[in-house]
Every structure is written in structure tokens, then in C-alpha cells.
């Protein structure tokens, strides 16, 4: 990691519209950030795209990621497709997609083969049980971090929607499509209502 100072941002912003990456460069860049990304690729994607290669300004990256976060599906996979297509059209999208997923899929498949063969060994089961306990803890930390802004703003409507979806999916175990088909229109309607009221 290199030290970042306010002055360091200027040359990066200039570089952002510099030479667009080729197909092989796209594939390799996404393969590299994917393989570096233990427990999430986003941090590495930002580092490579904005800081290392200067393909996007920080603002462009934030906007692209926000779009990919509100689209369904794995965010970082969406990001690879949107990013790749911006520079090289459909072939670029495919190159970035393949780079992001190809190498780690090979590794995970090897792990799956090992698990199928040795998964019954008691020491391995105990170790994996410990890893998954810690992994669940990490997930809770991420959730709490995302929840903080909502708690600070004290928006009762947002918090009520959050709790309703949590109960429906986590406690009642209702199917996701049914829950979302109801909760998305309700949430959009309430958001528009609140914005209109805030504007009035």
C-alpha cells in the first residue's frame, strides 16, 4: 500500500482517461484482483482499477459500484461486466468476467474435490467448524458496519422494513422471490413518499 496524500489524487485523475486496457490486460487484471481477494474482492478491485492502473477516477468507480450494488446478482461480477464493456464492448465484458471467475472457480473446484474425499475426517470437520464460526462473526461485523448510517439517521420506516425482511426471510424462512415481490414496491413507494414530504 502506498501512502495517499491529497496531492496524489491529481495525477490519478489525469490518468483515468489514459490508455484503455486490451482484452488480455482486462482478463489478467481481474484474475489478479480475484485471486488476491480473500473474503471479498471489492477492496482489491478498487486498488487495481483506481490506484494501480488509473483506469477510473475514484468518483467514476463509486458510481459504477453503486450501480452494480443495486442490480441483482453478485456485485463484483456485475462490476467486471460493466467495467469490461465500457472499454471493449461485449468481448471486454466477457474477458473481465472470465478473469474474475475462471481461476478461483478452478481453485474452489479442487477444494470441493478434496472436501468430498476427506470431508469425513474428524480433524478437518472440527477445523472447518471453527472457521465457519469465525466467518459468521466477520459477516456480523460487516452487517453492523452497514447498519450504522441507518441507526444514526434514525429513519423508523427504513428500520421497520429492515426488520420485516429479516423476520420474513431469516425467522419465517419464506421464499426470497415472494418476500421481495412485496417488499421492493412497498419500499420504493415509501421512499418516494418520504422524499416528496421532505421536499414539501
Amino acid at each position: 500500500m502506498r501512502p495517499s496524500s491529497p496531492q496524489a489524487d491529481a495525477p490519478v485523475a489525469e490518468l483515468a482517461s489514459a490508455s484503455p486496457p486490451g482484452l488480455l490486460t482486462l482478463f489478467l487484471a481481474f484474475a489478479k484482483m480475484s485471486l488476491a481477494g480473500f473474503g471479498g474482492v471489492l477492496v482489491w478491485a478498487r486498488r487495481a482499477i483506481v490506484e494501480q492502473h488509473g483506469w477510473m477516477t475514484p468518483e467514476e468507480f463509486n458510481e459504477t459500484f453503486a450501480l452494480c450494488h443495486f442490480l441483482p446478482g453478485p456485485n463484483i461480477v456485475n462490476l467486471s461486466v460493466v467495467f469490461g464493456s465500457r472499454f471493449r464492448g461485449v468481448p471486454g465484458a466477457i474477458a473481465a468476467f472470465a478473469g474474475l471467475l475462471g481461476p478461483p472457480v478452478v481453485i474452489v473446484t479442487i477444494l470441493a474435490i478434496l472436501y468430498a474425499r476427506f470431508g469425513d475426517i474428524d480433524a478437518l470437520r472440527r477445523t472447518l467448524a471453527g472457521v465457519s464460526c469465525a466467518a459468521v462473526g466477520l459477516l456480523f461485523a460487516v452487517i453492523f458496519r452497514m447498519m450504522l448510517p441507518l441507526l444514526k439517521k434514525r429513519e423508523p420506516v427504513s428500520l421497520a422494513l429492515l426488520v420485516a425482511v429479516f423476520v420474513a426471510v431469516g425467522v419465517m424462512r419464506w421464499p426470497l422471490p415472494a418476500v421481495l415481490l412485496v417488499s421492493i414496491p412497498v419500499s420504493i413507494g415509501l421512499t418516494m413518499l418520504m422524499r416528496r414530504r421532505a421536499a414539501a
Partner: protein, 178 residues
Amino acid sequence: MSDTNSGSLVTLAWSFGLMSLFAVGGANSAIPEIHRLAVDVNHWMSDKQFADVFAISQLSPGPNVLIVTLIGYQVAGILGAMVATLAMCGPTAVFAYFVSQLLARSSHAQWPGIVQAALVPLSIGLMSASGLVLLFASDTTWAAFLVTGSAAVLAFATRLNPLWLLVAGGLIGFAGVL
């Protein structure tokens, strides 16, 4: 098993493909639905195996969505792993491509901001549900709850690399404390 193989490939493709279109907020918020499909509806694996597979997907490099690759392998071998991965990532990638093309043409539109603001509480609610489902699948003893709690506090309060917390959890598990 081989008679049902092509049948389970279709089920894998259909289940994960449809579900991915509803996976608002990414892989972590889709965990309850993946669990419901793999454990409750299709009986592909036990609760314990699901927790194992989640642990492996967190330990390995790459996007967290690769938990579906592991489930696919469990169901139908290497072909199953490929089908599950493509079904989970392909349709939404195509969708993302078309939406980004559309937005590039009409960048002044107001609705993306509204939709995004409306989806934030829903996706956090879904991630909380993921936490609950995984807690029940993996934490069966008080010591296990203690490990989860400590990992949560350490990950929230410090800038420790998450990988070290996973390794520490593994060592505690290997020692047979849980």
C-alpha cells in the same frame, strides 16, 4: 445417481438462475435462499455440510458467490460446479450489461437514486437473515458462540486482516474446543 444427474443439472441451473435475479445486495444476502434451496427444498446437503461449504468459500480466494460452485460439485460433480456458477452469475451479468448501456444513454434519470435508497434497508435485512441462518447452522455450543462473538468484535473494532481471524477460528476448532 447417474440417472438423476441430468435432472439435477437442470434443477441446479433453474434454481440458482432464478434465485440470482432476486439476489439484491450480492452473495451474502442470498445465503438464506441458497440454504433453503440446498438444505430444505432439494435436500442436497445437511445443515452441517452447508456450514462447512460456507467456511470453504470464505477461506478460498475469489468472490464469495463461489459457495454455489461448491454446492454444484456436491450435487453433480465438476459439471454441476460449472452449471451452478454460470447459472448464478450469467443471467445477472447480462442484465447488468443492458442496464449499464441504458443508463449511459440517459444519465440524468432520477429513478436509480430512489431505487438504490429503497433497496438499502432490504439488503441489510437480508444480510442479517444470512447471519441468523449461518449462526444456527454452524454454532451449536457456547464455545462456538464465543468464537463468533469475538470474531465479530475484533473485525468491527480493529483493522486486523480477516484471514487471520478465519485461521484462528480454524486452529480453535482443530484443538477440539468447540
